[in-house]
């Protein structure tokens, strides 16, 4: 399968610190790629570069063989779904309005929006009676489901998730993990999932990308990382989280 997103020699420097050293990475279509590493390793920077929230200092990012530029970024964003840790829902809009925001902006018909909304409710196991609630009236897990619906509304080619389950309690988290995995499989969705939790990475990951200090350390399956560590840091990272890896 060909790559959906290709980063070539991309680097990013923030005042004083190299957030990302020159990096090459391909995101394969239809796969869930897990981006993992300790805090400040550059995984969120990588994600924010792909959605154009920040611009790279050097190198190019291509989406579907099309290089991202300031002029085409807005139309590309509509082909990418983005979910963050706190959900990023707008507090003054109901769940429904949050999900439909972009579709309304693009002038989709009522029937089209309504049927897609019902589809998404079913997919994300979100009760449609809660659609008229405001974000403050929803639980953390419900908010993440709404946020996921909003990201999936326009059937994006790529779904970017930035620690989407980080703020949830363990039970809610487990049930959402299960649902998410099913959804990805059902939609054959290309996903880039950022987490700092190795267990989550192994649960989801077709491919795991381990990062440290602004560099990709190793890319491969969970067993690759365990059995053929590219450098001592890989084993160190795996051993540190061994307690939670039950598989």
């Amino acid at each position: 399968m060909s790559a959906l997103v290709k980063l070539a020699d991309v680097s990013k420097r923030y005042a004083g610190a190299q957030a990302l050293h020159s990096t090459n990475l391909s995101i394969e279509r239809g796969k869930t790629t897990l981006l993992i590493g300790p805090s400040g390793c550059g995984k969120s920077t990588l994600l924010r570069l792909m959605i154009g929230l920040i611009a790279p200092d050097s190198g190019t990012i291509a989406f579907n063989d099309l290089t991202i530029t300031p002029t085409n970024i807005d139309s590309l964003r509509r082909r990418i779904g983005y979910v963050i840790q706190e959900g990023g829902l707008f507090p003054h809009l109901t769940a429904r309005a949050n999900v439909l925001l972009m579709a309304r902006y693009l002038g989709k018909s009522q029937e089209e929006m309504q049927s897609r909304l019902m589809e998404l409710c079913e997919l994300t196991r979100f009760s449609d009676t809660l659609l008229s609630r405001y974000p403050v009236e929803l639980s953390g897990g419900q908010r993440q489901r709404v946020s996921l619906m909003r990201a999936l509304m326009l059937s994006p080619e790529l779904l970017l998730l930035d620690e989407p389950l980080g703020a949830l309690d363990p039970l809610v988290r487990a049930s959402l993990q299960k649902d998410l995995k099913e959804i990805f499989a059902r939609l054959q969705q290309t996903v880039l999932f950022v987490t700092h939790d190795l267990g989550e990475a192994i649960y989801f990951g077709d491919e795991i990308v381990l990062m440290n200090e602004g560099r990709i350390v190793q890319k491969g399956s969970a067993s690759d990382l365990r059995e053929k560590p590219a450098e001592p840091f890989v084993s160190e990272f795996i051993n540190a989280q061994r307690g939670v890896v039950l598989t």
Binding site: S75, H92, L93, Y105, Y134
Partner: protein, 503 residues
């Protein structure tokens, strides 16, 4: 039905515009009335009464006219007349010669008229009374001593004389007067004008200076000693008017020539000071010989309605401008940088200028002068800071994660601002507008100082007459209005702030 609830949230912003339109409507009311003739008056009773008489004369001739009461002193009125902010005002020939034409020579009426014409200003013939300085004494005392003229004072060197400090110092005052008449009195003291009347009544002094049409002369049963040597310059009352004023209005003003003698003017002044109602005093002028029953002039509710409406126009229109300019400036300021800093800096500096000083600074500028325009501009500048600051801080307080979510969705910058950022900052912006509105209601009372009217008008004339009831007639409604506006804005919060932000 679920869809309906979402629509309501989206309707919040259009509602905001509806509110603005309402204020615009208020503003339109100001300009709706076709250009009336504007009569000005100086800040003392007689001038108020003459202004009212002119207004009613014009109205009787079916010419729309407004009276801006107590705009200030000679220079302000003269500039307003030349600048066209007023069309006519009552003046005195002596003042015209000395303060406007700046000459010490006694000018004839024709000379004055010719000099004024060069400024594009016309003058009526004298209205009939001469409001000059005069010496007055108790009627009983004058009769006992057989005193009728100032020359007669020569025979009574024992009389005690109490004079205002101004009269003691004036070049047409006490010293030249004493020389001219050869007055022998040695017992001369300086005393406050109002206290002087009390001193005269209890016999501490025997003679004092006064304006010849002063209502106190009749009130205290005093007599004026005739200026038999013609020492005092003439201060004959006339109306000055713009030569470009409509001819029928000029003709109407001219009908007042020679119709008001001193006795009559004293009576009108007395009525004005007694009732604190200038309209009513002016109506006395029209009543002589007629049996008009309408002596009350405007009733209090009518006056209150007029003041309040004007007050709301001033505060409402200036608030509208503050909102229209303040929100965009606040949006710019929220982006920080040198531009943002200078916007906030400018708004803060304006706020530190005392409101009175701000009015005074605007009046000499060409576009402004003595006008409603000046009052609204000053109020607008005052109302700017709370709105700019609250808009900027409301926008800056939006969490970065939500800003980035809006960007990542692919919404255009305008839509992001309009549908996401501004609604999220609505609580802060509205509270800025509320602060601005309450400040404007309070500060608008100062607008009366430059003749813009409003609830400051009774406060000002009350201060002028030292009459607390009149002051309260303006102060209490102004305070109630501020409370009402505060309450209305609290209600507006519920309509305009999206429900999701209020739960």
């Amino acid at each position: 039905m679920l869809v309906g609830r979402d629509r309501r949230a989206r309707r919040a912003l259009p509602l905001c515009w509806l509110a603005l339109l309402f204020v615009m409507f208020l503003a339109a009311v100001i300009s709706a009335s076709a250009n009336p003739i504007i009569i000005g008056s100086k800040k003392f009773t007689e001038s108020y009464v003459l202004g009212e008489i002119a207004k009613r004369t014009l109205n009787d001739a079916v010419i729309p006219a407004e009276h801006r009461q107590g705009m200030g002193g000679t220079i302000i009125l003269w500039q307003a007349l030349q600048g066209g902010q007023i069309d006519a005002y009552p003046e005195y020939t002596g003042t015209i010669a000395q303060e406007i034409l700046k000459t010490n020579r006694q000018l004839s009426l024709n000379e004055i008229g010719d000099a004024l014409a060069r400024f594009g200003v016309g003058m009526t013939k004298p209205l009939g009374f001469n409001n000059t300085y005069a010496l007055v004494m108790r009627r009983s005392e004058a009769q006992r001593l057989g005193l009728r003229t100032i020359s007669d004072l020569r025979k009574h060197p024992e009389l005690k004389i109490g004079l205002t400090h101004e009269f003691l110092d004036r070049q047409d005052g006490w010293r030249p007067l004493r020389e001219r008449y050869g007055l022998p009195q040695r017992n001369v003291i300086g005393i406050d004008h109002a206290l002087g009347y009390a001193a005269l009544a209890n016999g501490s002094i025997d003679v004092k200076d006064a304006y010849s049409t002063d209502a106190k002369i009749a009130e205290n049963d005093l007599v004026t000693l005739e200026d038999d040597l013609g020492f005092f310059p003439k201060y004959e009352a006339v109306f000055l008017f713009r030569l470009s004023m409509r001819p029928d209005a000029i003709a109407a003003l001219r009908r007042l020539e020679g119709t008001l003698d001193e006795k009559r003017m004293i009576r009108l002044n007395l009525e004005a000071e007694r009732t604190k109602n200038y309209t009513r005093a002016a109506n006395l002028y029209f009543e002589d010989g007629a049996k008009s029953t309408d002596t009350m002039g405007e009733s209090f509710p009518q006056k209150l309605a007029r003041w309040t409406l004007r007050h709301l126009q001033l505060a409402g229109f200036s608030l509208l401008l503050s909102v229209l300019f303040g929100i965009p400036l606040g949006i710019l300021a929220s982006r920080g940088g040198p531009i943002g800093q200078s916007i906030l800096g400018f708004a803060s500096v304006v706020q530190t200028i005392p409101s009175l000083a701000l009015l005074a600074l605007l009046v000499p500028l060409p576009f402004f002068g003595i006008s409603v325009r000046t009052a609204i501009t000053a109020l607008f500048l005052y109302g700017l800071l709370p709105i700019v600051r609250n808009t900027a801080s409301g926008l800056q307080d939006i969490p970065r994660s939500l800003r980035e979510s809006a960007i990542a969705l692919g919404l255009s910058p305008i839509i992001r601002l309009w549908q996401i950022y501004l609604p999220m900052a609505s609580r802060s912006i509205l509270s800025g507008i509320k602060t601005s509105a309450v400040i404007n209601i309070g500060t608008a009372t100062l607008a009366a100082l430059i003749g813009a009217g409003g609830l400051g008008e009774p406060i000002l004339s009350g201060l002028n007459l030292n009459d607390h009831v009149t002051i309260l007639e303006g102060a209490i409604p102004a305070a109630l209005l501020a409370l009402l506006v505060q309450w209305l804005f609290d209600l507006l919060d519920r309509v305009l702030i999206p429900k999701g932000l209020r739960i």
